[in-house]
Symmetry: D2
Subunit: 345 residues, 4 copies
């Protein structure tokens, strides 16, 4: 049997927050109509609108890949292109699902600490109206980024304005949006709709949920056919109430905020403790729940015997440490102690 | 708030069996690696092999659409065709997902009480080697059928042999396989692998699960690339243990059998009681957990005020009544009483 | 070396009309811009508008498959369905290209002598707004049909009206439109735009051209993105002038009409001569350039030693005989003589 | 009417070589079977084998986009990736056709003067066996490159070896292969099959043909299903003999070589004359039939009033000048004279 070992491998290695589990259980009574036409889903939708604005239109899906790919499908025809960071999950970790499902070209721009900006994006926006060239249609940013950094509100606004001035759409991959909003000390609405985001992949799975992902539209033009896109995209759940229950639990008493606040705090604490080691270099600002550090190559495998974590860039011995809603101070203390021991301090 | 009303609309209107819910809760501790590389998934896989044979290779997915479509993708190239019943879920209820994802042509044959047979299939098997013609590659059958009937083991064998003799693959949509196996008084393995099924969409969601679907391969040639197909198909779950837990609960103490046995029994009871009404005509043999009846048109909407159910064929006033693991005898008694009252008896 | 043998196999077994060849040669001078931005293409477009109405917008493509598939792509999203005759080329002879490229479901209705009509179409128009169901979007008819018959203008009108009342689009596969227009003693415009056709696959290859196919839009809403669809659909020719020249030759001095008139006349003559044999049964009205007959099975292979032709339905010994712009009376006389000899008359 | 103006815009702005036109005419007699089952196609295939080796298997298609995209489809599943130069036609000029048709991810590496090499390719070859990552499958190079340079035989060999060692396939986009072979003073076979190329997009349209493109396989494993891929890919011509005739004309008496030799010579001459201007900078070696130069921005539009040509990179006032089989010395003399006049020399 595989040994269960705690660590910092990914926020999806955590289980489900007890309040979420409780909510899942609590909706398990009697019969309700399938596929989302039920009171729990209604309540979850209402809560989404409370947080994101009443114009927000939400569709629950199964996973982040589904949310990202169907968001793209909603706004594109196959002759379009999608622009994103070369570090983005959309480009790097979906096994080509965006290309397969939308038929679009995915174009990447170099990221600075996970973020992209207009000067690099606009190099890809040309050939408009030229039939030999895929027509740019979506800019996709990740908030918080894959590198643990967070776009400021004005950074989002600038990209959104650029997108709209060029007849494009701004998509946000918000698999860790809660962590970003907590870092910004903002609200969901202020961080998305109010800055010009058109479509959001909204994920709470990594923040204490079990299977808790949604596509949220702030641009109503994109909505009319989305129900068919979700169904044809194999992302429509039959016993929807059990997904909706998770959104209710996470959105109704600010559990999303408590969880993200905790994870972010633990990342900050971990970073502070790691900063004490002169042999270790933190490579990106710690703004959300990820800490990226270069560690002496010799200790990596020894350290991994005790704690789960992944290489980010093996060539430079950079590792990724993710905290979660259930990271305990003890996890950090233990990790630092082990590190100290391995580094002979 | 939507009124919660019991009924016979669908087996997916039921909740989750308490033992399944208990299992989901019981795996919610500590950290495990995501995407299925965890001990619970190992245990679930072992149980699948116990029931289906040790050669069976299983991949958990999110829903029945995903299982069906990815099964087809595993065995086809876009120039192939897929042959199924005109009543099949694959053709009728997936919003074209098979065509979209595989690029294949889906061809239908008329069904007799939900079943297809070689004489009608072979009319579509021609033009082999002719480049203008989509090359037949998959025969897909549904067990139990969408009309509540069940293929006998020898009926499956005959289709499988025909498929293999013609260089084709037999896929089984087993969204209600448990109900079929119970009706046949057989085992999972005897009803699938041993009769020549190559790929199975195995669903337990309708049988007491929450999100409990899998693709099972009995033909090892189709497996090597399937992990990529699942990921690119947006059907790979991150916190996989919560899906695996459901399979463990349903497969380890024959909960699948108890649930299906109950649902089938309730269908039989319902059918027996309905047979007492001369104005009501049962249209298909009641072998699994569905009862199809033609009722006097005048009473349908009145009946629906009290009980959930769907029209099957509104033109002839045919309705579909599905039972489930949680159907109570009281549900049937109440339904019959209401019917009696409406029919003035 | 393969023996060159005349016959009635297909109108694409003929070569190119000398006036078309002459036109191709005549544009072979100097440099012009590629991809259609040249004077010859301008002239061809002008001629298309002269025949089809000035609102017609035309895009030249490479072949009939391309014209049909890109027409469908222009008017659909992948969650749509396309309704056509079970005998249609779109369904039967494109190796699944429509499904592959559009992602749509192709649904068939039984044809009567190659034609479909509203009562059979409307059986497939249901589930509107229901997310599990592919949404019907295109009705495609073939004019002249694959069985040598021709829709009357009012038959087209009725289908067009039905399509538009149901938010659908009427596509016409006009691979043999010239033959139909000649039979109807009508004009291109009256036979298409004026009856409500939205998109036309217009083919002149079978009518004396070499590579002479186009998509013509009468519904301007479908046009804006079509240039990208054609390019991404691999159907944009670089040295376009040589395609345009063919349209010029066929459209400017009514060569299309002379060719089609001749082919139709030859078909009628052939049918008249075949009608003299009591052992031979003509199975469809001879309205365009195809003659379908059931002949005694014993003579088919003997007959084929002398003349090219294809079985249509081998089970009933039905063969298809196509005439062309270059069919000579001698071809018919010789065929009849051979038949007479084989039938011992 | 658009003014016909000679120039250096593209080798596809030229017409058709008279010998090719003559060949097209010469096959225009009698009936032959459609879709390539004719004597002329047989002869063209034989000639291809004569030049490329008897193992070569060839399929004629309509255009370079078709040849490139179908080549990719033959060797991939949608979870694969295709690696090419960022300057490649496959990436830059197909309006996303490769992604749309194959579903694969297209990844680019920076090119040096249009060429790519293993050190940059291998940065993209990772994540093998990791289900979240598109699996690299094709390396595509262009010969001659889009920048008028030519890979040496050993440069090709090195990439081919790398591809095969990594279970990948080498595709060559040979839209201007003739120009490269002439530059290398080699043969078709030595420049392709013998260096390890698996699939070739072989184009003669730019070298005096009209519609003269093919996919040639040197790796027999990729062939078996290709006839379906071509048909479903909308690239199967009905009156194939007129395409085959072009291949015959160009391949039988070394017309391909005469044409390419002339075009290359004209490019060299043009480059020599341009080198006389100190204000003009040649940006890439002139090895095939393209000359890339940076010219003073002020003269570009004035120059374009007299001669067709395109900007390559407007930001740095770089223009592309293509020569062709029909470029006359007078064209060059006139161009240089105009330039001299504009530059006030």
């Amino acid at each position: 049997m595989k040994k269960v070992k705690r660590g910092f491998a990914s926020d999806n290695n955590s289980g489900v927050h007890p309040e979420v589990m409780q909510a899942i259980q609590s909706v398990n009574k009697g019969h309700v109509i399938g596929y989302g036409d039920d009171e729990y889903t209604d309540r979850a939708v209402t809560l989404v609108k409370k947080h994101f604005g009443k114009e927000a239109q939400v569709f629950f899906v199964f996973n982040g890949t589904g949310a990202n790919v169907l968001s793209c499908q909603a706004a594109t025809r196959p002759f379009n292109s999608i622009i994103c960071a070369e570090t983005s999950h959309l480009h790097e970790d979906e096994c080509g699902a965006p290309e397969k499902f939308t038929g679009c070209k995915v174009l990447t721009v170099p990221s600075r600490h996970g973020k992209i900006s207009v000067p690099s994006i606009e190099k890809l926006v040309y050939g408009i109206g030229f039939e030999h060239h895929s027509q740019p249609r979506i800019i996709s940013i990740t908030q918080a980024t894959e590198l643990g950094t967070v776009y400021s509100l004005s950074e989002i606004r600038v990209i959104a304005d650029y997108a709209h001035e060029n007849n494009m759409i701004l998509h946000m991959d918000g698999a860790r949006l809660s962590n970003a909003v907590v870092h910004l000390d903002s609200t969901f609405r202020l961080s998305t709709a109010d800055q010009g985001v058109d479509i959001l992949s909204f994920g709470l799975t990594k923040n204490g949920g079990m299977l808790c992902e949604a596509v949220i539209f702030f641009n109503p033009d994109l909505v009319p056919n989305f129900k068919y896109i979700r169904k044809q995209g194999m992302q429509l759940g039959s016993k929807m109430r059990f997904i909706s229950a998770q959104f209710i639990a996470l959105l109704q008493n600010d559990l999303w905020k408590r969880n993200a606040y905790h994870a972010n705090s633990m990342a900050r604490l971990l970073a502070e403790r790691l900063a004490e080691f002169p042999q270790i270099k933190i490579t990106h600002k710690v703004e959300a729940n990820g800490v990226f550090v270069i560690v002496p190559p010799a200790i990596v495998s020894l350290l991994r015997e005790k704690f789960f974590f992944y290489y980010w860039n093996e060539n430079i011995s950079e590792i990724r440490l993710m905290t979660s809603f259930d990271t305990a101070e003890d996890d950090i203390t233990g990790f630092i102690a082990e590190l100290r021991s391995l580094l002979g301090q």
